[in-house]
């Protein structure tokens, strides 16, 4: 008897959805690799923290989200923005400090926000995101929208009081909140095996009476599956979840980091664990997506990033007259 895959698991993706997931991951990767090159020319003001290597996390989680949902990001926020649908050209312009940017060029990399997309903002304050999503999750719960709040935060941020308080509150109020701990092994140059007392961030969930799980952050399908369960649970009133995704960031903590504190692991990860490589291998092996369609996405994304950089460089900078715009709001 030969059986075919007629009935797949409910949240498994069809060919087009897989292509979308790939496009998001590829866009993040191309965006970050290009910024890595461009930053070296000295044209980009301020600090830039790159998300390359971590694409499966933002993508696997945000694919389940819609207009009802909000996310809070980190100083390493480009991936979260792209995955939540923020315009890529406006992001690039923002990073170049141009008036056409998401925040009119006055925020830069660490403050990209787009409330119309439910993206509450990258955040220069480590541990600043989790309390914010308690707010959006509470609003969603009170209004009965079925929406959820998702906070992405790092292993360093997992040790911040704000993060722990937010998890406590989310559990006490049974909020539709998902805490995604992106454990890339380091906070700046400090190893998480040294700084995180419980060793696994996920283990802390038990102390707050919520489920905590660990997933392979290099595997899109692992993240996507865990996020599906956590988000569905939150939408249905089941309360918060902590998901720890483990992976390695491909570049330094910030652009310019000499990285004297680590060796070898990035080359290994790029070669053997990379989320894009694994995704491509798997979906072509199963025949779900043809390699040519993935190649086409690669080409389209490359064009988009080229155009984004070109347009950003050509766009005007804010002027003195812009100083007081977007500062005050009238109710």
């Amino acid at each position: 008897m030969t059986d075919t895959l007629s009935t797949a698991v409910s949240h498994e993706l069809d060919g087009n959805a897989l292509l979308d997931a790939y496009r998001t991951m590829r866009t993040i990767r191309a965006f970050e690799e290009r910024l890595h090159d461009e930053f070296a020319t000295g044209e980009i003001p301020g600090f830039v923290h790159l998300y390359a290597g971590e694409e499966a996390s933002a993508t696997g989680v945000c694919l389940h989200l819609d207009d009802r949902d909000a996310i809070a990001s980190t100083h390493r926020g480009h991936g979260h923005c792209i995955a939540k649908g923020v315009d890529v050209k406006a992001m690039m312009a923002e990073i170049y400090g141009r008036r056409t940017g998401s925040c009119h060029g006055k925020g830069g990399s660490m403050h990209i926000a787009d409330l119309s997309k439910g993206m509450l903002g990258a955040n220069g304050i480590v541990g600043g995101g989790p309390p914010l999503i308690c707010g959006t999750a509470l609003a969603a719960k009170q209004k009965g929208t079925g929406g959820v709040g998702v906070a992405f935060f790092g292993d360093g941020a997992s040790n911040q009081g704000t993060t722990l308080e937010a998890m406590n509150l989310a559990s006490v109020w049974q909020l539709p909140a998902i805490f995604v701990a992106e454990n890339n092994g380091y906070a700046e140059a400090t190893s998480s095996t040294w700084s995180v007392a419980a060793d696994n961030i996920a283990d802390r969930a038990a102390g707050f009476g919520m489920p905590g799980v660990i997933v392979d952050g290099f595997d899109f399908f692992a993240v996507h599956e865990a996020a599906a369960e956590a988000i569905q649970r939150a939408r249905e009133g089941g309360g918060p979840t902590l998901i720890e995704v483990k992976f390695t960031r491909y570049f330094g903590h910030f652009e310019g980091d000499q990285q004297t504190y680590r060796a070898g692991e990035v080359a290994y990860a790029r070669e053997n664990l990379d989320c894009l490589k694994r995704f491509r291998a798997r979906v072509t092996e199963t025949g779900q997506v043809e390699a040519a369609r993935l190649d086409a996405v690669d080409a389209q994304v490359a064009d988009l990033i080229d155009a984004a950089v070109e347009e950003a460089k050509a766009a005007p900078k804010p002027t003195a007259a812009d100083l007081e715009t977007d500062v005050y709001i009238e109710y």
């Binding site: 008897m1 030969t2 059986d3 075919t4 895959l5 007629s6 009935t7 797949a8 698991v9 409910s10 498994e12 095996t193 419980a198 060793d199 696994n200 996920a202 283990d203 969930a205 038990a206 489920p211 905590g212 799980v213 660990i214 997933v215 595997d219 399908f221 692992a222 996507h224 599956e225 865990a226 369960e229 956590a230 649970r233 979840t241 998901i243 483990k246 798997r282 092996e285 199963t286 025949g287 779900q288």
Partner: protein
């Protein structure tokens, strides 16, 4: 006289804590179990214990305890040697490397702390050295939930030869699952699932499963083998296993309400079952999808490959804690007679 203990820092952290109410087994408790084992080992004459190292905090906690021991007040421990020659990878390879080192260094017993997945990896690496699998994981159809002190006494008695291996150990059967040049060995069950990816590994959608093979199936088991345990039980100590064809519960001949994970009792449809003899290669009908071993998706199939499964009698030699301690009781291995006190009693 040397024994080895390998503790998996990652066991008990997977998605079953989200989709079911699987337990969380803290790192500190795993470290406590190692310490209870050491106490038990020393009391039955084990002189040297090789311990695995990890970045999850278990070996660090044991090292801290070792340094804090108070001479004269805390009981003796064997000499503790940490196996830190291999770089830690954070994968199952760490268990394999540690067990191989321990066996090469003369360990007469391997204790593994973890779930079914950890026991599977340790079993594949320990050769003929007796294996004692203690549960700190999720499904735990294979490792037993045992107090580590008691299990440590039994393991130690086998390691020192005070209880003969023929009496104190049982040879387990295993299932080999293979496709092309990839293979996995299961201690409890192998199944084929329509789920397309390894994903988060655990398998909790029984409606995706088409075929199930068990080395044994107990009526009080947990995990996929519990399906067979309630329909066609197959004892642990008989070599024969069991093979089942699953179907959607609506059309299936039988529907078993099975505890497929802690906190998850679900209807599982079964169309047919038969005893699975040792050695018979069975071709899996499913194309694409995945093969799961001991409840975890491990092998992804392409649309053209055929996976095969075979039951093999040459599995690990496992310590039977109850049998060892019954033997110890019968032969007085853990007691002495005090002649003076007896003489006084007689005079009175």
């Amino acid at each position: 006289m040397t024994v080895g203990v390998v503790a998996n820092p990652a066991s008990g952290r997977d998605i079953r804590r989200l989709v079911a109410q699987a337990s969380v087994f803290p790192t500190a408790e795993k470290a406590n179990m190692v310490q209870r084992l050491l106490t038990a080992f020393a009391s039955v004459g084990v002189t040297r214990a090789l311990l695995s190292t990890d970045l999850g905090g278990i070996s660090a906690a044991v090292l801290r305890a070792l340094r804090g021991r108070r001479p004269g007040r805390d009981g003796g421990w064997p000499d503790v040697v940490f196996c830190d020659d291999d770089a830690i990878t954070g994968t199952a390879r760490d268990t394999t490397n540690a067990v191989r080192r321990m066996v090469a260094d003369g360990a007469r017993l391997i204790v593994c702390l973890g779930g079914d997945g950890t026991a599977r990896v340790a079993a594949a690496a320990c050769g003929d050295v007796p294996l004692l699998a203690l549960s700190t994981g999720t499904n735990n159809a294979f490792p037993r939930m045992r107090e580590a002190t008691v299990a440590g006494l039994a393991g130690g008695l086998v390691a020192t030869g005070a209880v003969a291996a023929e009496t104190g150990t049982r040879r387990a059967t295993v299932l080999h699952a293979g496709v092309a040049d990839r293979g996995e060995t299961a201690l409890v069950d192998v199944c084929a699932s329509r789920s397309r990816h390894i994903g988060s590994r655990a398998l909790w959608h029984p409606e995706t499963i088409t075929e199930l093979f068990c080395t044994f199936a107990e009526p009080d088991g947990i995990g996929l083998s519990s399906v067979a345990g309630q329909l066609c039980p197959s004892p642990r100590d008989e070599p024969e296993g069991v093979a089942l064809t699953l179907a959607p519960p609506e059309h299936a001949r039988w529907v078993v309400h099975a505890p497929i994970a802690p906190g998850l009792v679900v209807p599982v449809g079964v169309d047919a079952w038969r005893p699975l003899p040792v050695g018979e290669p069975v071709e899996i009908g499913l194309r694409g999808g995945v093969i799961a071993v001991d409840g975890e998706r491990e092998l992804e199939l392409t649309g053209t490959e055929t996976a095969t499964v075979r039951l093999c009698a040459e599995g690990p030699r496992c310590v039977d804690v109850s049998a060892v301690l019954a033997e110890a009781s019968a032969n007085g291995l853990l007691r002495t007679e005090n002649q003076v006190a007896q003489r006084k009693e007689r005079q009175r």
